[in-house]
Each structure stands twice: as structure tokens, then as C-alpha cells.
């Protein structure tokens, strides 16, 4: 898990593989590849990591949809979301250069400090009274923190976000698709749309969400029947 980078790294890789610039059109270009990758990710990494990919996938789907349906004017919020992903990816790419700098310098020229108060004669230096009750108070808090930490490690916190995100994503897709699928079926890009939804379907299946699954798939089915 520590070696696992993340969705922006993957996205950049897909763009660079095709030797493309970071533009909105090119992001649309690699969306299906990205979704296909995320769909396969389910079994390999934890929910927490998948969730990070789903967030980016949501923005890509937005970009893709607008690329496919240019007559649908994006809302202000959608426009901001799309521009944001582009900007983030650019910044990410730039920082990757900085990363190389740090990697090169790291550990080459190290400065060393001196031991803190190395010359003090051994002794017992405590001017205030410390009581067992005081330590008891601290250990209670620390134990509480430790329990929280374990919960976090088990991913409980993030799971909630993942479910929400997928729900939101599907709601959005359902809305858009119902509104415009008839229009689209006339267009030539239909196969691409189908690929996208199939990838999304895989993604949902693999993320193994129990709570909303029925409702979610019902949504998808509507979309699928239309196609």
C-alpha cells in the first residue's frame, strides 16, 4: 500500500503513453482506459484506495460526457469541476519534476546535529510533582486515540465516503443519460458510450457496496436498456 501512488499518477501515465498534452479533450480521450483500469483495481487494493480513484473517475466521466454531448452546456459547477481536474493534473506533473529533485538530493549531503545536552551529569531533575493519577488520565486518552487509529486502519471512515461518491456518480449519470440518450443514439459515438458504461458497471460490481446496490443497479439497468 505504501508503494501505491494514486489516480492522478495513473491518469498522467495514460496521457503520456499516448504522448498527449493535458487538455480537456485528451482527458476525455483516456477516460475509458481509466475506467477500465479502476474496474480491475477492485480486488487488488483496499476500499480506501478505490475510493480515491472513483472520485477522479467521476470528474472524468463528466468531461467525457460533455465531450460526447457538446450541445449540453455544462453548469457553472460542472465547468469548475472539469477545469479543476485539468489544473490539478498539470500541477501534479510539475511537482513530479520537483520529486526528482528531492530524490536526487535525498541523503547525498547529510548534515548532522549534536546530542542534546550531552555533558549533563547523571541525576534526577524534576521540579514539579507528578502523580500516578495524572499518568492515568493520559493513558485513558492515549488508549482512546489508539482505538480510533485502529478503526481508521480498517477503513471504516472512508467506506462511507466511497458509498456516497458512487451514489452521487450514478445519480448524475442516470440523470444525464435519461435526458440525452435518445439524442445520442442518433450519433456515431454510441459504441464509446457503451464501453464507458460497461466499465462503470464493472467498477460498481467490484467495489462491493451492499447498502445501495439494488437501487444503484436499477439505475444502471435503465441506462443499459436504452443502449
Amino acid at each position: 500500500m505504501a508503494d501505491f501512488k494514486g489516480p492522478l499518477e495513473k491518469l498522467l501515465e495514460l496521457i503520456e503513453e499516448k504522448q498527449l498534452e493535458i487538455t480537456r479533450l485528451n482527458l476525455a480521450e483516456v477516460t475509458s482506459d481509466f475506467l477500465a483500469y479502476v474496474a480491475k483495481l477492485g480486488g487488488k487494493v483496499g476500499h480506501r484506495e478505490v475510493a480515491d480513484f472513483v472520485v477522479v473517475a467521476a470528474k472524468l466521466i463528466l468531461i467525457k460526457s460533455h465531450a460526447l454531448l457538446p450541445h449540453l452546456a455544462p453548469s457553472k459547477e460542472e465547468e469548475r469541476d472539469m477545469a479543476e481536474l485539468e489544473g490539478r493534473l498539470r500541477l501534479y506533473k510539475e511537482l513530479r519534476e520537483g520529486e526528482k529533485v528531492i530524490d536526487t538530493l535525498w541523503g547525498k549531503h547529510v548534515s548532522y546535529g549534536k546530542t542534546f545536552l550531552s555533558d549533563i551529569p547523571e541525576g534526577f531533575y524534576l521540579s514539579e510533582k507528578v502523580t500516578p493519577e495524572q499518568l492515568h488520565g493520559y493513558i485513558k486518552d492515549l488508549a482512546g486515540g489508539l482505538v480510533e487509529l485502529q478503526k481508521m486502519e480498517e477503513g471504516e471512515v472512508k467506506m462511507v465516503n466511497l458509498e456516497e461518491k458512487i451514489k452521487e456518480l450514478l445519480g448524475w449519470i442516470g440523470q444525464r443519460v435519461q435526458a440525452s440518450f435518445t439524442d445520442m443514439s442518433k450519433g456515431k459515438q454510441k459504441p464509446e458510450v457503451v464501453v464507458m458504461f460497461l466499465a462503470l458497471l464493472h467498477l460498481l460490481k467490484d467495489t462491493n457496496i451492499s447498502v445501495e446496490q439494488d437501487a444503484l443497479f436499477a439505475d444502471i439497468k435503465i441506462a443499459h436498456n436504452h443502449g
Binding site: 505504501a2 501512488k5 489516480p7 490539478r88 511537482l95 549531503h109 546535529g113
Partner: protein
């Protein structure tokens, strides 16, 4: 007191030598009975003299702390003497996080996650345990924290301040334009 004629710079050198670890400018000022401005000036003077080829030490000067360390040029020589095992391996994810904190810090976790696109709670905790990143309360947001690289990180990089990192200015201004206003939306 028997400080003889040793001046403020000499006094500061002695304090930093004995203390070893990073010490706050405020404590240095209080010990020397000088004000913080005088201390800062004396530190600048000291830093300047340490550039000399005869000097084997260097100063790491942070926003409110300072530490006397060996000159980075003498890394290979000194490492032979230091027993402590250095924790030097950086995974790709650790490197990515450190880069962001080094160039853009002090910054909130939201900013780091915004740029990396992944949850960074564990990575930041890991880097804090390794002593490469530290956090403090966010003056802008109650209950929030901001993260920055530590003196130990800088000492591993052979620089005495994050600002000395190559292209520091470029990245900070770049990030400013790209992140501006968006981080809260996350």
C-alpha cells in the same frame, strides 16, 4: 556573569553547541538577554562566517527555530562517526508526499490530498513518526493542522531551509495560481 568580551554571536554559538537540537529563537533571545531581531542578525552573521572553507559547521534556520549542524559538504566524513542508523529509504508515495510538503508547506492536509488525489492520513502519520514532517495548529482554522518538513528532512537534503530547494519559487507560485480558491471545495 563572566562572559568576558565574548559577543552575542559567540554566546549564540555556545548555546547552539550545548543544546544540539533545534532551539527556539525566543529561548535564545531570553538566554542572551537580547531581542529577537538582534538574535536574527547575529545568526545571519554567524551563518555568513560558516561559509568559510575553514569552517566545518552550518546553521539550519527555520521560521522560529535554529540548529547548529555539520556542513553538508562533510557528509561522507561525518557519517563514519555517527552511530545512529539513518532511516533513508523513501517509497514513491512517501517521496510524492514529502515533495508537496517541502515545496508547498506549511499547508493543510486538504491541499496535500487535493494534489495527490489520495487520502494522506496514514502517509502523513508515517512521515511524522519518521520525523520528516511535523504538524502544528493551523492559525487560520481552529482545530485544523498544517504540515511542514522538519529540520531532519532538511538535514538529509543538504539544504538549510526549504527555500534553498531547487525551483522553490517556481513551485510555490505555480501552486498558488492552481490551487487558489479550490482547496476549500475539497
Amino acid at each position: 556573569m563572566a562572559e568576558g568580551k565574548k559577543d552575542l554571536r559567540a554566546q549564540i554559538e555556545a548555546i547552539l553547541f550545548v543544546y544540539g537540537e533545534p532551539i527556539s529563537l525566543r529561548q535564545v533571545a531570553s538566554l542572551t538577554k537580547a531581542n529577537e531581531k538582534q538574535v536574527s542578525e547575529a545568526l545571519e552573521g554567524l551563518k555568513e562566517t560558516l561559509r568559510d572553507d575553514h569552517r566545518g559547521l552550518d546553521l539550519v534556520i527555520g521560521k522560529d527555530e535554529v540548529q547548529l549542524v555539520t556542513a553538508p559538504e562533510l557528509s561522507d566524513l561525518v557519517s563514519k562517526l555517527v552511530k545512529e542508523e539513518l532511516d533513508t529509504k523513501l517509497t514513491p508515495a512517501a517521496l510524492e508526499t514529502l515533495t508537496i510538503v517541502a515545496y508547498l508547506g506549511p499547508c493543510s492536509r486538504a491541499v496535500i490530498e487535493y494534489i495527490r488525489g489520495v487520502n494522506c492520513a496514514f502517509m502523513l502519520r508515517n512521515l511524522m513518526v519518521r520525523g520528516l514532517v511535523e504538524r502544528r495548529s493551523d492559525p487560520q482554522k481552529t482545530g485544523g493542522y498544517i504540515y511542514q518538513v522538519t529540520f531532519d528532512f532538511l538535514k538529509h537534503m543538504g539544504v538549510t531551509s526549504a527555500k534553498e530547494l531547487p525551483e522553490y519559487e517556481r513551485y510555490t507560485s505555480l501552486a498558488q495560481t492552481l490551487i487558489n480558491g479550490d482547496e476549500e471545495g475539497q
